[in-house]
Each structure stands twice: as structure tokens, then as C-alpha cells.
Symmetry: C2
Subunit: 206 residues, 2 copies
DNA sequence: GCGCGTAAGTTAACGCCTGTAAGTTCACAG
DNA sequence: CTGTGAACTTACAGGCGTTAACTTACGCGC
């Protein structure tokens, strides 16, 4: 994160691209601490300490900023998923699932940008496929962590899965649904232990 | 659905409440056929054939319209989930799951309003809890269909579930995640048969 | 040291949006 | 047939995304 001085000093010649990162910084910060209705192009500009049109040399529109945010957020997610280093593959898989849910819970708006962008599809509906493509590629890195760890469980004889790819997908679907619904309907009487039962069943742990 | 004449005839005295329904009609129609960026207060008013301020005697703001839309959409969902009348409880449960996914697939923007409202939380972030409350209550009707049918499966000895409520919740989570992710990342190489394996595992069918 | 081209920003302005305030029309009671 | 109030309109304030035109000042060539 780059600190933004109250009165911005103009970047030096040839260093204008620095502002691009500062814009993404500002957007991520805005998404982290709060009200999503402030996540506007002008709001991002205010946070970055620049005027709104100064964004356009770096991004063609708001959606592109959010795509860059999603890109960075997927990187953070992948890193956090890769952090657990339990030697036991099942415990490691559980820790990874917890890390996934924790990410979604602590950064709900970033998570939403990562997995809801195609819905929003701001102005450019025809560009939604391109965004979907980008996001699919980005997500694969994080997904690979699930697939690989589940394969480790199978190799250790701790999962009865015969299709680690398919079952990792099922696990991901379950975790995503859980993360999303808990935010969407927090007043639902969520049964305790649901998280682990989802993990056990999707990963076919025994 | 109420047809909206090109030149609106003013409602009679005491029948002003009819306009409320026409506004919700217009919003639902807008959400069904397309671009979500047209779902604005003014867009709804245009579609309904009235001026934007005419909405305010009936709804305090845009979010309230969307809440009314979600209300009606939950009613439609509940009805569609109740339609399958297979005698075999397992087949009925499968048909219900398919109906759920079909609803989400064919009305993605309505589905999004139903389960994404708390995220958006337009202007009134402090009203999000109230909306979440409303939506939780609304969703219970549809959820009950799952719980009841799963209980039927257990009674018929076709599911090993010992906690129909918890397992119906798990099933719902799985279906929601599947519906949501398929729209969000359509380019992911979705494995065939994923849907049924989610249903089987979450409902503990045998 | 000193122009000066050009990168790095700015201010101004357009059209659309939400939401408010004040005005207009018209059905019906008396 | 006239007044009243519900139903609806026009007009406006402030915010948004985006474009165009303008200003500032860095650093290269001389």
C-alpha cells in the first residue's frame, strides 16, 4: 500500500505509471473499509488524491479498475491459500478451506468483485465474456491449490475421490455457496458444523 | 403482468395502489430481459409509463422496489419448487433441485437481487439488516420445500441423513454455489455430472 | 544556463442518475 | 357545479461516468 500525501506531488517524467498502482491501491482500500457505494470512479480518485479524469490515461473505465483489483485480490487469495503447511494432507486441506472462507468473510466486497463482476457488467455488457475469461484464468491458480491438496489426500489414502479435479470443483462450489450465502442471509439459522460437513462430503474424506 | 398503455390513464380515486404493482411489474420485466444497468429508478418509471417521482408515493427508494421484486421472485421460486409431483421422494428431490437451478439460470438478475441485495445495500447501509431479515423470512418458504422433501427421503429410507434441516441447508448451499459460480465463471471447465454429485452428497442419498 | 516539447496532471462541461419540492389535473363528495 | 385531495407532473439540487481543452513543470538538446 502506498501512502497518499494530502497534497500530491506530481510523478516525475516517465514515472506516470506509478499512478496506476496507486489507483488500484485506492480501490482496494475503498473496498476493504466499507460502504460499497463509495466505490465509484470519482471516489477512487478522491481516495488516491487525484482528479477523476486523471484515471483515464491508466484505465479505460471503472470496470477495468475493478478487473485489476480482482487480479490483485486473486493473487492475495492464492497466497493465503498456499500458506497452510500442515504435513497431514487432510489437515492442510481443512486449513485451506478455512483460509478461503476467512478471505471471503473478511474482504466481502473484494470477494464480490472477484466473483460477481460478470453480473454487474457495468456499461460494457459485450465485454463481459472477456472479463469472464480473465477471471477464469485468474481463479485457476487458487483452484489448483485445492486440486493439488485433494490429490495429496487421495495419495495418502485419506479420500475416496477418484476424480480430484471434479471433487475439488465440488468442494470449491460448496465453499463459495457457504461464503456467499452467509453474507447474503446472515439471519438464517445456520447449523453449527455445516462448514466441516461440506468439506467432508465434497472432498470425500474418510 | 399488467400491460402498460402508451398513454397512461390515471387511476381512479382510491385505486392509486394499483400503480405499486405496475412498478414492480416493470422492474421485474426489466430484470428479466436484460441489461442490469437499465434497472434504475428512472428506467423502471419509463417502462411503467410514468415519471420518476411518481414512484416515491409508493416506494421510499430504489432498494425498496428491489426488495418488493425479491419478495415476488421468492414467491415464484417457491411455486416452481413446489411444482414437481413425482411420487418417489428422491426423484422429487432431484426435480426440485433442477427447478432451483433452472430458476437461477433463466432469471439470473432476479436471482441476484434475491441473494445479493445485502451486498449492494444501495444508499442505506444501516437498513441492510432489515433487508436481510426480510429476505431470510422470504427464503424460508422455498427452503422448507427442500427440508420437507429431504425428510420424505429419510422416511422412505432413501437418505442416511440424521439431520434433515442441516443437510437441506448443505444442499441449498451447494446448489446456490453451483448456480452462482456457473454464471460468474462460465469459462471454467465444469465437469459433467457435477450437479448430481452435489445433490447426492449433500442430501446423503444412497 | 535556457528554451521548449511533451508527460502528467488539471478544470470545465455534458448527459444521465437518485431523490425533493412545488405545482397541476381531474374524479368525486356535497 | 364547485371545492378538495389523491394522482401525477415539471423543475431542480447534487453526484456519477466520461470527454475535451487547458495548465504545469521535468529534463533533453543546445
Amino acid at each position: 500500500m502506498v501512502t497518499t500525501p494530502r497534497t500530491r506531488v506530481r510523478n516525475k517524467r516517465g514515472e506516470g505509471a506509478q499512478l496506476r498502482d496507486e489507483i488500484v491501491d485506492a480501490a482496494m482500500a475503498l473496498l476493504e473499509d466499507g460502504s460499497p457505494q463509495n466505490v465509484t470512479l470519482r471516489g477512487i480518485a478522491r481516495r488516491a488524491g487525484i482528479s477523476a479524469p486523471s484515471i483515464y490515461p491508466h484505465f479505460p473505465d471503472l470496470d477495468s479498475i475493478l478487473l485489476a483489483v480482482a487480479q490483485r485480490a486473486f493473487g492475495v487469495l492464492e497466497q493465503e491459500l498456499g500458506a497452510p503447511n500442515e504435513t497431514d494432507p487432510v489437515e492442510r486441506l481443512r486449513a485451506i478451506c478455512v483460509a478461503y472462507l476467512t478471505f471471503a468473510e473478511r474482504r466481502p466486497h473484494q470477494y464480490r468483485v472477484m466473483f460477481g463482476a460478470v453480473w454487474d457488467a457495468g456499461q460494457a455488457l459485450e465485454r463481459a465474456p472477456a472479463m469472464a475469461d480473465e477471471l477464469a484464468v485468474l481463479g485457476m491458480g487458487a483452484f489448483e491449490v485445492f486440486r493439488r491438496t485433494l490429490a495429496d489426500c487421495v495419495a495418502a489414502g485419506r479420500s475416496t475421490s477418484t476424480d480430484p479435479f471434479g471433487d475439488a470443483t465440488a468442494l470449491w462450489v460448496g465453499l463459495h455457496g457457504f461464503a456467499q450465502l452467509q453474507v447474503a442471509t446472515p439471519l438464517f439459522p445456520w447449523p453449527p458444523g455445516l462448514r466441516d460437513s461440506i468439506i467432508d462430503r465434497m472432498a470425500l474424506l474418510r
